[in-house]
C-alpha cells in the first residue's frame, strides 16, 4: 500500500482536479489508504521541518581568498583580427589560391571554367576583392598580404 504512486502525486499536488476528486473519494472509503497517505504526509513534513544548516560566518571570505590566488577563468572569444590568427588566415588563403593555380588545366577544366556565367565570375571576383581589402588593411606592409594581393589580382 505504501507504494501507491497516487499518494506521491497527491503530496506534490500534481493531480488534476478530476484525479484529486477521485482520490479524495478513495481516501474516504479506504481507511488503510487514508492512514498510509497521512503517514506519507507526515514523513514529508519531517523532512521539510529540518532546520536549514547555516554555513560558517567566514566561509565566503575563505572561498574568495582561495579564488583570488587562482588564474581568472576568462573566456577567450575567437577573433580573426588578432595578428596571429589573421596571419594564419592570409596564409591559408594564399595556399588555397596557389593550389588552384598550380592544378594542371586540362580540357575538361577549361571547359568547366568557360561554363561559369559572367555573373558567377563577377561574384567570385568581388568576394576575393573584399577579402583582400580586409586582409591588406589589417596587415598593411606584410609579405603575406602582398602575396594574397598578387594572387587575387592574378586570378
Amino acid at each position: 500500500m505504501r507504494r501507491d504512486k497516487t499518494i506521491h502525486a497527491w503530496l506534490d499536488q500534481r493531480l488534476s482536479p478530476g484525479e484529486r476528486e477521485r482520490f479524495a473519494e478513495r481516501l474516504a472509503a479506504e481507511p488503510e489508504l487514508a492512514a498510509t497517505a497521512e503517514e506519507a504526509r507526515r514523513v514529508q513534513h519531517l523532512l521539510r521541518a529540518l532546520p536549514v544548516d547555516q554555513p560558517p560566518a567566514d566561509l565566503a571570505d575563505n572561498i574568495m581568498r582561495q579564488i583570488r590566488t587562482a588564474p581568472a577563468p576568462m573566456v577567450r572569444r575567437w577573433a580573426w583580427w588578432q595578428p596571429s590568427r589573421a596571419m594564419m588566415l592570409a596564409g591559408a588563403t594564399v595556399a588555397v589560391l596557389a593550389a588552384v593555380m598550380l592544378v594542371p588545366r586540362d580540357e575538361t577544366a577549361t571547359l568547366a571554367a568557360t561554363q561559369l556565367t559572367e555573373t558567377d565570375r563577377r561574384f567570385v571576383q568581388e568576394c576575393l576583392r573584399d577579402y583582400h581589402y580586409e586582409v591588406s588593411t589589417r596587415l598593411a606592409g606584410s609579405g603575406a598580404a602582398q602575396r594574397a594581393a598578387d594572387a587575387t589580382l592574378e586570378f
Binding site: P51, D53, L59, I63, M74
Partner: protein
C-alpha cells in the same frame, strides 16, 4: 537592482574576480545545506562547499548559459558529494537501527514521536528527532538521497533536478518515489497513524 546570475558570470568571465563574491554570497547557504544533507554535515561540509565554489570558478570559462547557473552549481555540488561519498565509503562506517535507543549524556533514551494530534504544520522536531531524520536520509543510496534532498528539502522541481543530475524526468520521479517509500519505512515509528482498533501508536 541586484545583478542576475548571468550578469555576474559574464563579469567574472571578463576578468572581474570580485564579481564571483556575489555568486558565493547568493548560493553559499544552499550549497552548504545541500552538502550537509548529502554527507551528514560535520567539519568536512565547509571544506566541500569551498571545493564546490573553487571548482565552479575554475571551470566558469566553459559556462555558456545554456542551463541556469543554479542548475550548473547543483550539478557540480552533486558530483562532488558523490565523489566524497565514494571516498568515505572506503572507510569503515557504523550504522544504527532506528529502533535502537539513542545514547545520550545521561545514558540511553528513546526518541519520542511528535504529537501529530496538533496541527501537523506546527509540529516541531526535537534535536533527537532531527538526528533520526538525518540518519534515515543518510541510509538511502546516494542516487535516491540526492533526489529526495533536492525535491522535498530544497524545493527544486522535477525538471530542475533532472537538469542538475543529467537524468530524465521519469527517472527523477521513480527515484523520488523509491526514496519516499524507503523513508516511510525507516521513519514509521514516528509517523504511524493510530488505527481505531489496531495496535499502532504515535
Amino acid at each position: 537592482m541586484q545583478p542576475t546570475d548571468l550578469e555576474l558570470v559574464e563579469r567574472v568571465q571578463s576578468g572581474d574576480t570580485e564579481a564571483f563574491g556575489g555568486l558565493v554570497r547568493r548560493y553559499q547557504q544552499r550549497v552548504y545545506s545541500h552538502v550537509c544533507r548529502m554527507t551528514g554535515g560535520g567539519e568536512d561540509a565547509a571544506d566541500l562547499t569551498q571545493e564546490v565554489f573553487v571548482k565552479v570558478y575554475n571551470s566558469l570559462n566553459r559556462f555558456r548559459g545554456q542551463a541556469s547557473f543554479q542548475t550548473w552549481l547543483f550539478r557540480v555540488t552533486a558530483n562532488l558529494c558523490v565523489d566524497r561519498h565514494r571516498r568515505a565509503a572506503r572507510a569503515p562506517q557504523v550504522t544504527r537501527s532506528l529502533d535502537a535507543p539513542v545514547a545520550g549524556e545521561d545514558g540511553e533514551f528513546e526518541v519520542e514521536a511528535p504529537d501529530w494530534e496538533q496541527n501537523p504544520e506546527q509540529v516541531l522536531l526535537t534535536a533527537e528527532l532531527q538526528q533520526e531524520v538525518r540518519s534515515a536520509i543518510l541510509q538511502l543510496s546516494e542516487k535516491l538521497r540526492a533526489v529526495v534532498v533536492m525535491h522535498d528539502l530544497e524545493g527544486l522541481s522535477y525538471e530542475e533536478i533532472a537538469a542538475a543530475l543529467a537524468i530524465p524526468v521519469g527517472t527523477v520521479k521513480s527515484r523520488l518515489f523509491n526514496a519516499r517509500a524507503a523513508l516511510h519505512e525507516l521513519l514509521l515509528p514516528y509517523v504511524r497513524v493510530r488505527s481505531a482498533g489496531g495496535p499502532g501508536g504515535k
